[in-house]
């Protein structure tokens, strides 16, 4: 670690990693929604399709700070039906009945891995899997023929008009914002001898994805007691990805993204506007115009996280324990501590492997200097407690 920024990147990366969905849970979630999808295709009708959207698709999931800490997995359920042939309420009901039928089918088979409940929400149906620590939010949709091939229309219990969306288009845009992400996807494809298009983003963690995770994480904690004013994840993700300039150092990328995102909040004739990159007519900042306090809350949060990052870099030379204490004030202390523990274990493994070197700026794995010869700390009990 040659610079403070690299050090902070490593420590933040290690902390946010602990909030990542585990590969095991990810596989389990995929297995479950694929089963739902297969069942719906077989029983709902030709052309019913289920695919992931949102942070699960983008690989920017952060474990929620709720007591259960259940991961939200957002899915699109797309029915090949024309807008003229169905109402929003009918679509919602049709998908709901099929999901309830699926739930019954699982129960009839005495399957233990089925969803426990299926509940209606404003826009989606929620299949809960409390034993696994996640739930599937299934969004009933139909194709939006005005925005082929990936545009969709969705229902909203509180709104008369069909709502527009384009999660696949959004994911494509997100991917295009990071050369590193594209390279990692290409590497993964090459390794497995498959097409790049078949490697999902959620298997990869590029700097951009980590930046989004850090921002969402801080925001989630900052608004734990004030969820109404919490900036939506999609707004943060969009602004961060727009401002991202390809940095590969996580700390620097996060700071630059925060500084750069101000440019991408537009004022269109007195209305705040952050367009959906995959559907220009959709304004992610729409609520700011209706609730000015949310606009204020966003910029207060922006100022807060900027201040945390500035504090951290200014604590250079003050001690790892001081850095940890400041980081824990703004991020989850458990995750931060875990990251520091891992750092210690890594330094030890590097020394044992002969990869640790002594530079004039401290211990490092990059500069040329004497290799730290393996040795064994000796002395009194390593955990002396009173």
């Amino acid at each position: 670690m040659d610079t403070m920024e690299k050090m902070l990147s490593m420590l933040l990366d290690g902390a946010v990693e602990t909030l990542d969905i585990s590969p095991h849970l990810q596989r389990l979630a995929i297995e479950h929604y694929e089963e739902v999808g297969t069942w719906l295709a077989a029983h709902g009708g030709e052309g019913w399709r289920i695919y992931p959207q949102g942070s699960f698709r983008l690989g920017t999931v952060v474990r929620p700070n709720t007591p259960a800490g259940e991961y939200d997995i957002d899915l699109v359920c797309r029915l090949p039906i024309a807008k003229q042939s169905i109402t929003q309420a009918e679509l919602k009901k049709r998908v709901g009945s099929m999901l309830h039928a699926y739930l019954r089918w699982k129960n009839d088979q005495s399957a233990t891995d089925g969803p426990k409940t299926c509940d209606s929400q404003r826009r989606c149906w929620t299949l809960s899997y409390p034993d696994h620590g996640f739930h599937l939010d299934v969004l009933p949709t139909i194709p939006n023929t005005e925005y082929p091939p990936t545009g969709i229309l969705l229902t909203d219990a509180n709104l008369r008009e069909w709502q527009h969306s384009n999660p696949i288009g959004y994911a494509n845009w997100f991917r295009a914002r990071s050369d590193e992400l594209q390279r990692l996807l290409a590497d993964a494809a090459l390794k497995r001898n498959i097409n790049v298009a078949d490697v999902p983003e959620w298997e990869i963690r590029s700097t951009l994805q980590r930046v989004v995770q850090i921002l969402k994480w801080h925001c989630m904690l900052r608004f734990a007691e004030d969820p109404d004013n919490r900036p939506p994840s999609i707004l943060i993700t969009t602004l961060a990805a727009r401002a991202y300039a390809g940095e590969q150092d996580l700390f620097t990328a996060t700071r630059n993204a925060l500084n750069g995102m101000t440019e991408f909040v537009e004022d269109r004739d007195g209305r705040w506007w952050v367009p959906n990159p995959a559907h220009e007519e959709e304004n992610f900042a729409d609520k700011w115009n209706e609730y000015p306090e949310r606009h204020e809350a966003f910029w207060n949060w922006h100022g807060d996280i900027n201040a945390v990052l500035t504090d951290l870099v200014q604590l250079r030379g003050r001690g790892l324990h001081v850095i940890e204490s400041r980081m824990s004030e703004s991020f989850s202390p458990d995750a931060v501590r875990r990251s520091f523990e891992r750092y210690g274990q890594r330094v030890r493994r590097q020394r044992e492997a002969g990869a640790l070197r002594m530079g004039t700026a401290g211990l490092t794995t990059t500069t040329t200097g004497p290799v730290v010869r393996d040795h064994t700390f000796y002395g009194q009990h390593p955990d002396p407690r009173g």
Binding site: M4, G317, L320, P370, V372, P382, R385
Partner: protein, 182 residues
């Protein structure tokens, strides 16, 4: 004074080798003792510690932190891996001998100790690995000097050669150091 092992590295050369790694170190060799003050910052986030290294042939190098004062993890009664007087315990008896370069062993081990010390302040657990002192019955008293071996076996000789190679990587072979001697 105890006789010096034939392959022991000359104290001035030890000092020059330390200066090659840490140009800001200050030291003297007087009456058969090397005393050196080092400034070590194990990572960019870490504090810069002032460390005193005192060493005489035939004795173990004694490393103490003179500033800033070392503190304890809340709930801990003592520092981990220290001898009496908070002298740092850096290696298992037998892992160091007079034929080795301090600059390639004890100095980076100290930096490493300091890094794990700061992490210990965070976690309360020593992440650097290591052994605890043997009980007095096993022959080594807590706080006592683990005696360095007087005779060098082939493995130790090989270690000495490796040290020379490692130092050569930054231009501080014993030959080069001879030219630098003031």
């Amino acid at each position: 004074m105890a006789s010096t092992p034939t392959r022991a590295v000359n104290l001035t050369r030890q000092l020059v080798a330390i200066l090659a790694v840490l140009p800001l170190a200050m030291g003297t060799v007087r009456t058969g003792q090397l005393i050196c003050t080092l400034h070590l910052q194990p990572s960019p986030a870490s504090q810069t510690y002032t460390v005193r290294l005192a060493y005489r042939h035939g004795q173990r190098p004694r490393v103490t932190v003179t500033g800033p004062p070392l503190i304890l993890h809340p709930g801990a009664a003592a520092l981990p891996h220290v001898y009496a007087g908070d002298e740092l315990c850096l290696y298992y008896p037998g892992q160091w001998n007079d034929g080795m370069w301090l600059a390639a062993t004890v100095v980076p081990w100290t930096a490493e100790w300091l890094l794990h010390y700061e992490l210990w302040l965070v976690t309360g657990t020593w992440s650097g690995g290591g052994e605890t002192h043997l009980s007095p019955r096993a022959g080594i008293r807590q706080g006592a000097t683990p005696l360095p071996p007087r005779t060098r076996d082939p493995a130790a000789a090989l270690q000495h050669d490796q040290s020379a190679v490692e130092l050569a990587a930054y231009g501080a072979t014993p030959e080069v150091m001879g030219d630098h001697r003031r």
